[in-house]
Symmetry: C2
Subunit: 520 residues, 2 copies
């Protein structure tokens, strides 16, 4: 396979009439999606949009993402999926930075587009998916499909997409992923987890995010079907599973937690589910156990990042079998698994040597899935990508004797308090054990004596009050005293990314800005 | 993964103590094979044999092939597996053509090596696997393992092996396959057929051949185990399946036929077998049906060639389910299936357009598995490899409406008699239906009136006589008269390649040489 489109073409060869995409009452066969993709490509060509042009997209989940994934592949254009939860200046930056020639948007984002329109430097064509034209020069989405099929000649090393990633500091960086990167990731995952054509995958996480994208590309590679809901909402998830008999879905822990705690969770027929794939952040063992009880299916954890296309490790379903009499089996739930097929992984100490088992170090990875680099950022690329293929992830982890990886903290998420290293995941796991806790995030906040101290930000379940001191006392039963939160803030909600990942950086800023004002 | 060795390393990460290789009473874990490979690489280095050096090998099947597959990968050296059934001048040609620096051989081939030794141009080191030294300067095999582990830094585009392929005319050509080619082939096959770590594969076909190699690389990729027998022999196959509880094996139709007809076939416990993979030539439906009855397992057919790394198509187990009331289901058994995951296939007519369904044309293929080219033969490479990745296989096939491929003949195997195209496979299928036929090969022989006429070369089962006219009359019941053999020659055996493939070329030569003498 040389391009993402070849995934679809392969199944047009094998099962052209098999349904590939479901969306509410619409459904499309592999042949129909292939035809749409090639006409979409023809439509772009008619507009004068050629190979390597960047196409910005501000869209909810829908069947149209398959036009984008595979139509832009047919056209040799580059997908720039934009996170619609970002603020206008951030979206503007990403469109200008990547130099998008086309901007495609859902009607809900007309205000966003109009708000940034005068500052866009490169966009020549605005494409709207809604019923009515938002402004004069905008082109209706369906008109792109009204064209002769066209397929550009592309190579596996052509860029498929530029996915922006926040990073922990500074401006977002555009991660360039080639067709080879994306295809390698899908082959790796499919080989590791044995996906087959009988799968029906639910896109409940946002499709602009590579985590859901990776799931989609793997399912297409292996001839499965896709269903999607506009955006994550527990009842919509339950209904879609029941309606489309979904067998698998990628969810993030915060979503699983919301599904677990939904009062109507048991009212739907969820028996078609065979495998929930989760990732994007670690999961508390108690949350996972509840999900296993609710869904009665296999669970599989992924760890990775956009730069890795994205999968680096898999915690297999068999690694999730907890034996209550064996503490080791529970311990595995805190791991994100072992290197996926096709990926080579190292945990590297400060001197560049392999860390010993149990010793924390930086995760390095190598494989065909690793990004080509950061768009327009050769220096940042050089800093993390070695010539021999190794990529420095900046995440900190330890490996046990069996090479299971434990991400002790993502980049800046480690708290150093009184010279002790405190890994927030451990503290969060303790807080989550309390029955009244709905969501929790643990961060370091400034402290004159200790540098940083541990703070837990907590959302409680309705009608289940608990006090700060009760919760801290509860934690003491589970982890060492020095790791326990020194304070707890009860909140109505915790800031999250479009992918549902808790935004520790924003949480931290709330506390550190105040500190800087006072100290500075 | 960047090299074949990375396949082993991945499972050392995951299951170092899992058994990887069985051979008679020897067994080796993944960790042991990894260690042997890296020491073998160190041993070569000590000899002064560096990256890209070619290593010729004349060996029966054994555990040592895993040192070769993975040790040469660690060393960045290039494997040149030699077919020991070739005549001395042919072996000599391949060693000199590839410029082997090292020659490794089993004691059974000491005579071969001594016979060609004075004509070898590049070999600096002779390595023997036997108990006693065959001549003064020869180095014992095990001494190579007595070294510090060493791993060369190689890229996926480095050549892994040069596999010589006969072709239909002229001298053998060395097919250069990179690590990327071999890894892609394994990922494609594993994704298509869902191999898992519970497989135990039997190498009964020769390991110097890429068909068995491909099976080995796929099983290692997915963490399975390997068993091997020295060379194909029915009782050895039955015993190995029983002893090592083999789950899968690659066999060629002539081997399956011999197993089917062996009087002791039912005396062994073959219940561990789950999947027989067959290929290298088409199989007669009757032979397949008998094998299904005997082995009671799934069957999967591969089609491809050395240049393709080697797999192009797979006829899946579900395609082998014959419904006696549905002639279409029997028809599929004559197909070699559809493009494997990762491969794009075309059937091309004389004008370079896609042939219509049912129309014969040349098979073209594209994918990461396609060879880098022929060693030292840029013109021959250019003739079959396009810049956009398409490879012209020279095989003739037709595709049905569902994109199942029917290889109507391998390159020169089509008989043209009185302007009618006769595909020998069809005739062979008819001949095989006769209960007295053990083996059959159909070729075109010279005829003054028709140019060529159809001849069947047949080996009969013991104690089951049949006459020429009876057999021709029998064929008439199954195929059109013009396709039936005009003559039948009864033989004691039919010439076969090391891979068990019937050598049509040699058969033909027997008849055409006589003709040339007479005509010329």
């Amino acid at each position: 396979m040389r391009s993402l489109l070849d995934q679809v073409r392969h199944w047009v060869v094998k099962e052209p009439q098999k349904f590939m995409v479901y969306d509410e009452d619409r459904k499309f066969t592999y042949e129909q999606i292939y035809d749409r993709a090639r006409r979409f490509s023809g439509g772009l060509r008619k507009l004068g949009v050629g190979k390597k042009a960047r196409i910005g997209v501000i869209m909810f989940n829908s069947y149209r993402w398959y036009d984008l994934y595979y139509g832009l592949s047919a056209a040799g254009c580059i997908l720039v999926p934009l996170n619609f939860r970002l603020a206008n200046p951030e979206i503007l930056y990403q469109i200008n930075d990547s130099g998008c020639k086309v901007l495609i948007f859902d009607p809900e984002f007309t205000n966003v587009v109009q708000g940034i329109k005068s500052s866009l430097k490169t966009v020549e064509h605005f494409v709207y998916t809604g019923e009515t034209s938002p402004f004069d020069e905008a082109i209706p989405y369906d008109s792109l499909l009204d064209a002769e099929p066209f397929e550009e000649n592309i190579t596996p090393d052509n860029v498929f997409g530029i996915y922006y990633t926040g990073g922990t500091t500074g401006l977002a960086k555009g991660v360039m992923l080639s067709h080879k990167n994306i295809l390698a990731n899908a082959l790796n995952f499919a080989t590791d987890v044995h996906f087959g054509a009988d799968h029906v995958q639910l896109s409940a996480a946002p499709m602009f995010h590579l985590a859901d994208g990776a799931m989609n590309f793997t399912i297409t590679l292996t001839g499965g079907a896709h269903a999607s809901i506009k955006a994550f909402e527990p009842v919509a998830v339950f209904q879609a599973i029941e309606k489309f008999k979904c067998t698998t879905a990628l969810l993030v822990p915060t979503m699983i937690n919301m599904l677990n705690n939904h009062p109507d969770a048991t009212k739907y027929d969820l028996s078609s589910l065979r495998l929930i794939v989760y990732g994007a952040s670690p999961i508390a063992p108690d949350v996972l156990q509840k999900a296993i009880d609710l869904f009665q299916c296999d669970f599989c954890q992924l760890y990775g990042m956009t730069e890795a296309g994205p999968i680096l490790t898999v915690l297999q379903p068999e690694d999730h079998k907890v034996d209550p009499d064996n503490p080791e089996s529970v311990k595995l739930l805190r791991s994100c698994g072992r290197e996926v097929t096709g990926v080579q992984l190292r945990v590297v100490d400060k001197d560049g040597n392999d860390a010993k088992p149990g010793e924390a170090g930086e995760i390095w990875a190598r494989g065909d899935n690793i990004m080509m680099g950061y768009w327009g950022k050769p220096i940042e690329t050089e800093e993390v990508l070695h010539e021999d293929g190794w990529y420095e992830t900046r995440d900190i982890a330890q490996m046990d004797e069996n090479n299971y990886l434990y991400v002790v903290d993502r980049s800046k998420d480690m708290i150093i308090s009184g010279a002790e290293n405190i890994y927030t995941v451990e503290v969060e796991n303790a807080v989550y054990k309390h029955p009244a806790v709905l969501e929790a995030a643990v961060i370091g906040v400034p402290d004159d004596r200790w540098g940083e101290v541990v703070k837990a930000c907590v959302v409680l379940k309705q009608g289940m009050p608990v006090t700060e001191s009760e919760l801290i006392e509860f934690c003491r039963q589970h982890i060492a005293s020095y790791k326990c939160p020194k304070s707890v803030d009860f909140m109505g909600s915790i800031p999250k990314s479009g992918a549902g990942k808790i935004l520790k950086r924003e949480l931290r800023e709330m506390y550190w800005k105040e500190h800087e004002r006072r100290v500075g």
